[in-house]
Amino acid sequence: MTRKQKRGLLIGGGVGVLAVAAILVMFALRDTIVFFQTPSDVVAQKVEPGQRFRLGGLVAEGSVRRGTGTHVEFTVTDMTESVPVTYEGILPDLFREGQGVVTEGTLSASGVFVADTVLAKHDENYMPPEVADALKKKGVQLGQGASHPGQQ
């Protein structure tokens, strides 16, 4: 093989691997990504039942009810609309009424969000950015904790 042919083989191989990867990436991005929705989006019927998405907002005050076993019900609100949520499992340490939360799951036919994941936060002061943004758009005043502690 000449030098040119060898280089061609090298580049061809590299491009081949990249092409395979690109196809994988395209399929994966089509099938595996999860959209973020607010309760208003859900009420406006932007989401089909059975479709997987993330629901974010505040845990409504006084809405948390523990059922039998590890069954939990609560309401996620963006101060305009609210969506009831059910969850089977152990809630994260920082899950609390009046605090921001992100849950992942599907909407049932009856309009209840069945969550299989409730996202934990690492930090008391931390508000998931999507939640903070979504709430700001709704005109909700965020309390202490939405900004960096160094700025207060």
């Binding site: 990436v25 595996t32 990504i33 499992g89 950015p129 960096h148 160094g150």
Partner: protein, 659 residues
């Protein structure tokens, strides 16, 4: 007073960095040896000043000087000493100071040990290195100054986030930064090579050990972070494909590729242009990692309170160095001389395959990490890209890489004999098939891919050992001769084998725990028992306890196996004093089969508790594998020391394995 001293030292360090950036490079341009020689004292002075600055901040933390805003916000007088020290880098300002300190450390090491480098190359390298230090020094002084005072000083501090109060996490950032920042050496050497328009043997001989050292630290740093997430977050998982994890994983992938391409460049003077590009890309990914973690642009469970304005500043630094580096590359890469020829089936060819797959994998991780950002910027839609994406894209790229791994070290340089190599690996392949069959027979469940991956893991381990056996000619020559050969093998051969072996160990651990994990989420009242993976757990209720800076409720689980008492597991729920934040501590029993992992949940109204039980088979092999990889790097590095000073001898050593 000490704090002002530290502040002043930081300002001086920035001034020295400015000097070190300009003067040696001017000397290199004009051929002025005296100007070039100023780089050495400047680099050492810069490091000394930053060390003083860092130590004075540490002093403020240890003595709990709450008149310093940074200490007041991030520390508390009741915190144990180790966490008062680790609190220094447990926040944005302090961690950036540590970042620059490590940057200066690497510069000083080049200055001290680089006496055999060509003086022009050394001057340029230290100058480029200093330009990075200057950028970050100015960034710290103007946007993230840890030395600002508060007046009046608060009575006590706000405390460090309790989940960061953990030994593994105390040392996670320094190791991670040693890795991230260590790649700056490769970057500085690459830029210096482009400025001069040439690279020589000395260049690759220098770049490889630095890259190897950085890679070792990054490996351990990532492993520590994963270990911490495993036992502290209480989700039973060890890797979440979280954007912040990806931020450290991308430089690791690119750095691993760089490590292997630098090998080709050192031994065969081939792949020069590619290696220089990879060096620029690897450090750019480190900068991007810093940007992603510190700017808060990404939604992440790891995202601690962060500040977008600083993010813009780091983004500007990143664009400057990445863009500048790539621009210089585009202008000058053509001047680098092409090196040796090789056939597709050869050691070089296998290392090229390694590079193609690793860089492509890096790109898929990059796309998955940045796609949500891009989509939100373009359409305003918010999405998350989770583990399913990475399982679909990253894993298929790793399978051929792992399969090819044992072949590489057996292939000869220039032109290899694939059939011969396959014969030498026959025993390893047989073991691998056996492992796959045994896995399938024992488990009888889980995805079909799992036994295959177990086989691949065993193939890599056995292949790594097979290389040593082959080189020592075990069974082919008298045993005494084998021992002699074994002793005379270069350390780098042992290092490679060990590191590859570690990868195999890790693959086995990852596969076993991913495919065969058992999980139960249940309610238990005191006195009740539950079975999981051959263990019987009896819940004996909850006992209150008081720690140094927290109160906790400690669950008591008696663990029995085959009727024999094994241990008492004590997962707990803690409430810290400052800040008053709850955390869960998992209770873990480790055995050679795997980890029994318990998490205490919320108390129920009827007196029961929600409990999470996991059995994670062979999970520890993941971190043991990382430790073995680190050890492999260390062994290989101990060989390098011989070579750095002795170019002529290195040629003979390099030839030795090919006999």
């Amino acid at each position: 007073m000490v704090v002002e001293f530290g502040h002043f030292a930081l300002v001086l360090a920035v001034v020295v960095a400015l000097f070190q950036m300009l003067v040696p490079m001017w000397g290199a341009r004009t051929g002025n040896a005296r100007l070039m020689a100023t780089a050495k004292p400047a680099a050492i002075a810069q490091f000394a000043l930053l060390l003083i600055s860092f130590l004075s901040l540490t002093y403020a933390y240890v003595t709990s000087d709450f008149s310093v805003a940074n200490v007041a916000v991030n520390s508390h007088s009741a915190k144990p000493l180790i966490y008062r020290i680790s609190g220094v880098w447990g926040n944005h300002e302090g961690s950036m100071l540590l970042w620059v300190l490590i940057l200066a450390l690497f510069g000083a090491l080049v200055a001290v040990f680089g006496h055999n480098l060509p003086s022009r190359l050394r001057a340029n390298v230290l100058s480029v290195q200093s330009s990075i230090a200057l950028a970050f020094g100015v960034f710290i002084l103007f946007t993230s100054n840890p030395f600002l005072r508060l007046d009046p000083a608060p009575f006590d501090g706000r405390g460090l986030n309790p989940i960061l109060q953990d030994p593994a996490l105390a040392f996670h950032p320094p190791f991670l930064y040693m890795g991230y920042v260590g790649f700056s050496m490769a970057f500085s050497f690459a830029i210096a090579a482009l400025i001069e328009g040439r690279t020589d043997a000395a260049w690759a001989r220098w770049v490889r050990p630095w890259t190897l050292a950085a890679w070792m630290f990054l490996t351990i740093g990532i492993a520590m972070g994963s270990w911490w997430a495993y036992y502290e977050l209480g989700w039973g998982g060890w890797w979440f494909w979280d954007p912040v994890e990806n931020a450290s994983f991308m430089p690791w992938l690119a750095g691993t590729a760089l490590l292997h391409s630098a090998l080709v460049m050192e031994k065969r003077e081939a792949l020069k242009v590619w290696t220089v590009l990879l060096a620029i890309v690897t450090f750019s990914l480190s900068l991007m990692g810093t940007f992603l973690v510190r700017s808060g642009v990404l939604t992440s469970v790891h995202a601690f309170a962060v500040d977008p304005e600083r993010g813009v500043a780091i983004l500007a630094i990143m664009v400057l160095f990445t863009g500048g580096g790539l621009m210089l590359f585009a202008l000058r890469a053509g001047q680098l001389r092409q090196g040796g020829l090789f056939a597709p089936i050869s050691r070089e060819g296998s290392l090229v395959l390694n590079n193609v797959l690793l860089t492509t994998a890096t790109v898929t991780v990059l796309v998955g990490t940045l796609y949500p950002l891009a989509l939100e910027g373009l359409t305003g839609q918010k999405i998350s890209v989770g583990p399913p994406y990475f399982n679909m894209t990253f894993v298929p790229l790793m399978v051929p890489l792992l399969l090819a791994m044992p072949f590489g070290p057996f292939l000869a340089w220039k032109r290899g004999d694939l059939r011969g190599v396959a014969e030498r690996l026959a025993a390893a392949a047989l073991l691998a098939v056996l492992a796959a069959v045994v896995t399938f027979a024992i488990s009888g469940r889980g995805p079909w891919l799992a036994p295959v991956m177990m086989g691949i893991g065993v193939f890599i381990m056995a292949g790594a050992l097979a290389e040593l056996v082959f080189r020592a000619k075990l069974g082919k020559v008298p045993f005494a001769e084998t021992v002699r050969r074994f002793r005379n093998l270069p350390r780098s051969v042992f290092g490679t084998s060990l590191a590859h072996f570690g990868v195999g160990v890790m693959v086995v651990g990852i596969t076993a725990t991913t495919a065969y994990q058992s999980e139960q989420v249940i309610l238990m009242k005191a006195g009740e028992s539950r079975e999981i993976a051959g263990y019987t757990l009896t819940f004996r209720g909850v006992v209150p306890n008081r720690g140094p800076n927290y109160r906790e409720q400690v669950g008591q689980f008696e663990v029995y196996r085959n009727g024999q008492f094994v241990t008492t597991l004590k997962p707990s729920k803690r409430i810290y004093d400052a800040p008053p934040q709850p955390t869960s501590e998992s209770g873990i029993h480790a055995s050679w089969r795997g980890d029994l992992y318990t998490v205490l949940g919320d108390a129920q109204e009827d007196g029961g508790y929600s409990i999470r039980l996991y059995f994670n088979p062979l999970v520890r092999l993941i971190w043991i594998g990382a430790l073995i990889m680190f050890a492999g790097g260390a062994v290989s590095l101990s060989d390098r020391r011989l070579r750095v000073g002795a170019p002529r001898r290195s040629r003979r050593l390099a030839m030795a394995p090919a006999e």
